[in-house]
Symmetry: C2
Subunit: 304 residues, 2 copies
């Protein structure tokens, strides 16, 4: 039986998902159990052009709610005057754009809205590598670094949303690269995102062999970040995705360095023998982003 029909039979809610990225918007529909039925992708140009394609995609889909996992910074705090806006992005045309307002006005359904990484954290906790846990952290290491977290089943907000990719970590003693973050120079993103690896070693991360010293240095930075996240949030699992983490040989390097840094201070089996199941790749693979948006749609549908 096709997936559509199984969902129909179980009377699952049909939901829409928008993974709003800086280069493309991936749209899809799926069921509230995390099943993704179909997807389509549109280039991120101007809000007028891109959103016209998004609306056209959803026009005949009859979804009950839509979730948006968005590039940022955004305002995800309900009740704030700019709730639902993309706020201060350097991306031309999108700063100050009321993304939630536009989707709500056009599709007239509940809209869930959060950062792409908060969405992915929620998706992984519902259907992926952190299924069944009360808390988890999802971090993506690609052209940038971002992370989201679930605590007691809820996504973290406060003043606004986390920006965990911009923490300062201790510099690797052999690293002379100054970092590329326009705000902080050598914050985590500035020294450990894909462009930093490329600039430091003179060729793209994907072309550096597994034994290259680049990876020990990359593991140094990511393990320092994970140490901070463990000490601040105490997540029950850490899911690492994004282009750089496709280098699966990074995982054992990061796990070992994380254990060395914590030095046995936090006593938990997950940080000792269980470390291979503690720092893991996404259970949803390349679907983490779109499934995350679907998870945000589910949350919006439930709240409605």
């Amino acid at each position: 039986m096709p997936l559509e029909c199984i969902g129909e039979e179980l009377r699952l809610k049909l939901l829409g998902a928008i993974e709003a990225g800086g280069t493309k918007f991936v749209c899809g529909i799926g069921y509230e159990d995390g099943t993704i039925l179909e997807r389509a992708s549109f280039p991120t140009t101007t809000p007028e052009e891109t959103m016209a394609l998004v609306f056209e995609y959803f026009r005949d889909k009859a979804v009950e709610a839509v979730g948006i996992g968005s590039f940022g910074p955004i305002d995800p705090v309900p009740g704030s005057p700019t709730y639902g806006y993309i706020t201060t992005t350097p991306k031309p045309h999108w700063g100050g754009y009321n993304l939630v307002g536009a989707v709500r006005a056009e599709l007239n359904v509940p809209v869930g809205f959060d950062t792409d990484v908060n969405g992915a954290a929620l998706g992984e906790s519902l259907w992926g590598a952190a299924q069944g846990l009360e808390s988890c952290l999802y971090i993506t290491v690609g052209t940038g670094i971002g992370a989201g977290a679930v605590v007691h089943g809820e996504l973290i907000h406060g003043l606004s949303h986390p920006e965990m990719g911009h923490i300062y970590v201790r510099r690797h003693p052999d690293d002379r690269y100054e970092g590329f973050c326009p705000y902080h120079g050598d914050c985590l993103e500035g020294v450990a995102a894909g462009p930093a690896i490329g600039a430091r070693w003179g060729k793209p991360a994907a072309e550096l062999e597994a034994g290259h010293p680049a990876w020990e240095m990359e593991a140094h930075y990511l393990a320092h970040a994970l140490m901070n996240y463990v000490l601040v949030l105490s997540p029950q699992r850490i899911v690492m995705g994004g282009g750089v983490m496709k280098q699966s040989h990074l995982f054992p390097l990061i796990r070992t360095q994380l254990q060395e840094l914590l030095a046995g201070y936090v006593q938990h089996a997950s940080l000792k023998d269980g470390i291979d199941r503690y720092v893991v790749p996404p259970g949803l693979g390349d679907n983490a982003g779109l499934a995350g948006a679907l998870a945000l749609a589910r949350m919006a549908a439930e709240k409605n």
Copy 2:
């Protein structure tokens, strides 16, 4: 009318509070609205001796629930086999002590249990400097450094409890002191808790005048820590207590350095003109610890 009678008239629940510290146990009773009626203090020697005094104190108090804000590390995760235990403390006699089990067996009331700093964070959010907010962070800077946080009205747990005092922050360029943390050497606690200030400058922090370079260095470390907490947790307010923070001239130094470090990346009024109301001393003053334990008692009474 005496406080006791007002509480009686309003039919407020009478609750017990235990602030379990490494040198003394402070016990008290109070109402669920945060009013503390009385307190007593007992030295922390062995569990047998100390707890006998604690039980004697509560014997005729008829409290409806007890809250314990404890030194750690502890196991605050309900359902864990060692829930309610003090786990791996270097404090003699107390490692592996089932504190919650002992209190429950003796007093036969619901027991709330968490770290002292998580308790203080909850107390500040209910009755103190973060009243009415959905999230806050409480950090104490004294003989050690610890922090607790409220997110969406709940205390953070996961693997266990946060240990935010042990994050690594960037070293101050002029600092040659190696740090005193037995686990991590120069982690935040190792370089910025009271003993580090004393060891670095050759006299106790309390004896260093306001213009001493010690304070600019201390602000460097604490502002770096706050930057990480802001980027990971996005708390709506940060409350700073503990002996070192009695030096109130530290507050403006920390606020300014925090703004410089964030460099405008997180756009929020609280981090600009509102910074004086964002990084603040405890609203509950020296009662933060005991009121925190009272808040944990209230949570236990509500859950029951």
